[in-house]
Symmetry: C2
């Protein structure tokens, strides 16, 4: 995690998710934590490019890395426990606003003065 302001972090998360390869990587990491090499087999990409995508995901706070004892060359990547909290929070806010708007519209449409008739 590298972005500090909540707004920047949210932007970074959305930006990170805007790439299909990165979304695939996240899905793979959601099945189980994996090494970079395992990811490389599936997303078909040079190790360097993949490493960069991993960095983007890390800086967005979506995945975290963790060393292991068996082979110190390798780091295991996994989805950060509350990776999606900011995004889900924003989405919830949006849903709420949407509900309100629908309700306001409904109230307007059913108001006594216009007795259910819309303009068009």
């Amino acid at each position: 995690m590298d972005q500090h302001s909540p707004t920047l972090q949210l932007s970074a998360a959305f930006a990170a998710l805007s790439d299909a390869s990165r979304r695939d990587m996240i899905r793979m990491l959601l099945q189980k934590p994996r090494r970079a090499g395992e990811l490389a087999e599936c997303v078909d990409m040079s190790p360097q490019a993949l490493s960069r995508h991993l960095r983007v995901l890390r800086k967005a706070g979506l995945v975290s890395e963790q060393g292991i004892e068996e082979d110190a060359r390798v780091r295991i990547y996994s989805v950060h426990p509350n990776a999606f909290q900011p995004v889900q929070q924003w989405m919830a806010q949006v849903e709420d606003l949407w509900r309100r708007q629908l309700q306001a519209f409904k109230a307007f449409a059913e108001s006594p003065r216009r007795s259910g008739k819309l303009k068009a």
Copy 2:
């Protein structure tokens, strides 16, 4: 809406949401549909820049425009009814995978062979 493959559309939606100004615009449009000028007052930005952001949002399928009769110069922008369906669908998928992983981990931790003891 301009992106056709579901994957591309999802990418476009995430990319569109990765900008704080665009998120603000969406929030304003969720309160009520508005003209470009009204948005401009709040996001503090040149009309040209704003127009571009609107185009991005349109192409991502998040907002839709609609002419009005009173003044034909003006178009009203609003949040597309199922703007967030792809994003929410993907997020739901992620949540599901996350639940499964937690469950798998729990099953592992509680398996008879290791009787609840973890490695560390």
